[in-house]
Amino acid sequence: MSDFMGGLSKPPEPPTRSEPSRGVRGRTRETRDGPRGPESVTGFGTGTQRGGGSVAVLRDGAKGFWGETLQLARAVGRTMGVTFKNLVARKPVTVMYPDVRRQYPDRFRGVLALTYDKETGEENCIGCRLCEYICPPQVIKVEMLKAKERNWAKHFTLELYSCEFCELCVQVCPTDAIVMLKTFELATSDRRELLLDKDRLHALGLEHEHSWATGTRLRDMQAPPKAARGEGHRDGATRGEAAVTAPAAAAKPAGTAALAGAGSAEESATPAPAAKADGPSTAEAVKTAAAPPAAPGEVKTKETAE
């Protein structure tokens, strides 16, 4: 037992009375009136008890027995009136969940999935491992498969049971490969089912509706003012706020380069072409993407994609 706040569970001592000076806290019997002052004690107040005052402490103070009783009756009426109003006038707000689902907003952050390119049907993920680095609970593990045209993810596992749905992985993905779905149903009797591999993640992406957010969109939304973009971090001419990018640029980390495969200057490039500017060997490949993957067994083909 910790002795929190200094020895409060001493053994009983012989009777002492606390000094009345402490009474402003109303702890003792002598000062039961407390700072609220002697309110009406007619009616059925509990004057001898510490605190509590009397039932008659309705706001306007003493009213005499009948006044109090009337007020009590009114109070009962109003209280029960509110519940009655809810009983008859308001519909239940319950959503009959498994049968009916509410409308999930566009930005819903749910189960994660990997995507295919809309046009070519290829996997978007290039195995760049940015999501692995950013993930706070470190639940993503990616292995890159280098290839001529573009890179691929050789393995991609996601321990969904430890994911905190922070959407950082979505945000950093240069190719919009990882997205969140409008579903949250993770309940399973076997924890291993939540250890998602690449195939499972791709399948999930086909099964469920995607949320709005992708890396490009998120970075676009957070983009600093246009005036400051792309031209080094000059003070923005049109907006006062644009000036604030200057200190931000000063604090630009150098360590980014190692991770993104690009100089930190690219960070301030316009987010829309971010996918292109990001990895020297990756982005063009996404667009052309003609070469078959080097490890076909692990990659879904075009047919399964659509």
């Binding site: 005052g53 402490v57 950082l168 945000q171 960070e267």
Partner: protein
């Protein structure tokens, strides 16, 4: 001046056999996992000892192992009932250290989020407190469900804004991560209008209700001196007659732009704290309205969107930022060493400091008052234990 807080509070022996009773760690009104060891004389509490730490998750250590980019998403887990608050405190501390500025729009969005969060948090407080004093099988449960209904509406707003209902990750260093979606402000206005109307109902249910009044008035009285010495904050200290609100006295995130009242009650009892929070509900609603009206155009972040884990670095130094959370002053102290991670991170949890008042006001109460007082303190044990 610090005499008041040092007094060991113990009741004189009334001549009855004493009984030591554990309230918690698993108890319906423990608000989490909190163990209060009550010494009883009949129904009267004569001494209280407290054990905390059941929910300890090494949050400060986590803060030291995660970078400035990652941690804001986890900061919300300290006080999971008002998740926006601790995120805001963290990013404010980092921005203070790195001297990053925040666009006006982001500041307003932060205010909107913080005030909506206060509404949501107070909704939960009202519900659980009434559940404590009112019983899970009675009127308390009714108010609880009404309050939760309203809280869910606010969470719907957050869900539309950020996609999550509990742990938002809305803030990032230099601004916010999400801009308002289309139609959001209309939705916000509808929701807060509705909540404002429903507040009248709660007040009709509670303030006219003699049973509620006798349970709260004169119970758990905290004197202004004691309040200052123990270092409680938020609605507790304002309920004790001390006008202390960081939004007013140390404005952050453009709070100086808004016109709002800081409710102060002098009685210091549970009822005063209740009144303070009920007024705060309405004040938060007016702040949200003002912020929505005055929401400037512009970027939401002074920094480019997060693209890599070490993107934010701050120079060596030490910074402290504090915000007025729903439960009081939430402070975050960061010692930076120039790397992308803090060298040391320390939380000042409002609930933790507020909980320290318990041994001073519990002795002399009835058992039933213990839960009423606990509820009026409104601790969140994620924030206490961290």
């Amino acid at each position: 001046m610090d005499t008041e807080a040092r007094k060991v509070v113990e009741m004189g022996w009334g001549g009855n056999e004493r009984l030591v009773m554990n309230m918690g760690p698993q108890h319906p009104s423990a608000h989490g996992v909190f163990r209060a060891i009550l010494t009883l004389e009949g129904e009267t509490v004569v001494a209280v000892d407290a054990v905390i730490g059941y929910l300890h998750r090494c949050h400060e250590k986590l803060g030291e192992t995660l970078t400035y980019v990652q941690y804001p998403t986890i900061a919300s887990k300290t006080d999971y009932v008002a998740a926006m608050t601790s995120e805001l405190a963290y990013v404010l501390a980092v921005e203070h250290l790195g001297k990053f500025e925040v666009p006006k729009r982001a500041q307003y969005l932060r205010v909107i989020a913080a005030e909506l969060q206060r509404i949501a948090s107070h909704c939960l407080w009202l519900g659980t407190w009434c559940l404590d004093i009112g019983g899970a099988l009675g009127g308390g449960a009714t108010i609880f469900l009404y309050a939760i209904r309203e809280r869910e509406d606010v969470l719907d707003l957050f869900e539309a804004l950020t996609g999550a209902r509990l742990l938002y990750g809305f803030h990032q260093v230099g601004g916010t991560r999400y801009d308002v979606p289309a139609g959001w402000d209309k939705q916000v206005r509808e929701t807060i209008d509705r909540i404002e109307r429903r507040l009248d109902e709660y007040e009709a249910m509670l303030e006219d209700n003699a049973f509620f009044l006798v349970r709260t008035q004169g119970v758990g009285v905290i004197s202004p001196e004691l309040a200052q010495e123990v270092g409680i904050s938020g609605p507790l200290i304002r309920g004790s007659g001390i006008d202390f609100d960081l939004r007013r006295w140390a404005p952050y995130s453009s709070y100086e732009d808004f016109d709002f009242r800081v409710p102060v009650e002098t009685a210091g009892d549970c009822y005063a704290r209740y009144r303070v929070r009920m007024v705060e509900f309405r004040e938060s609603i007016t702040i949200v309205r003002q912020a929505l009206d005055g929401l400037p155009e512009g970027p939401i972040s002074s920094r480019p969107g997060v693209k890599s884990v070490g993107q934010v670095r701050v120079p060596k130094g030490e910074g402290y930022a504090r915000v007025e959370g729903a439960r009081g002053e939430v402070g975050c102290c960061i010692v930076a060493d120039g790397s992308p991670k803090p060298y040391r991170m320390k939380w000042r949890g409002a609930s933790f400091s507020n909980l320290a008042i318990l041994p001073h006001i519990l002795p002399g109460c009835k058992i039933a008052d213990v839960v009423a007082i606990m509820g009026s303190i409104d601790p969140v044990f994620g924030e206490v234990d961290r």
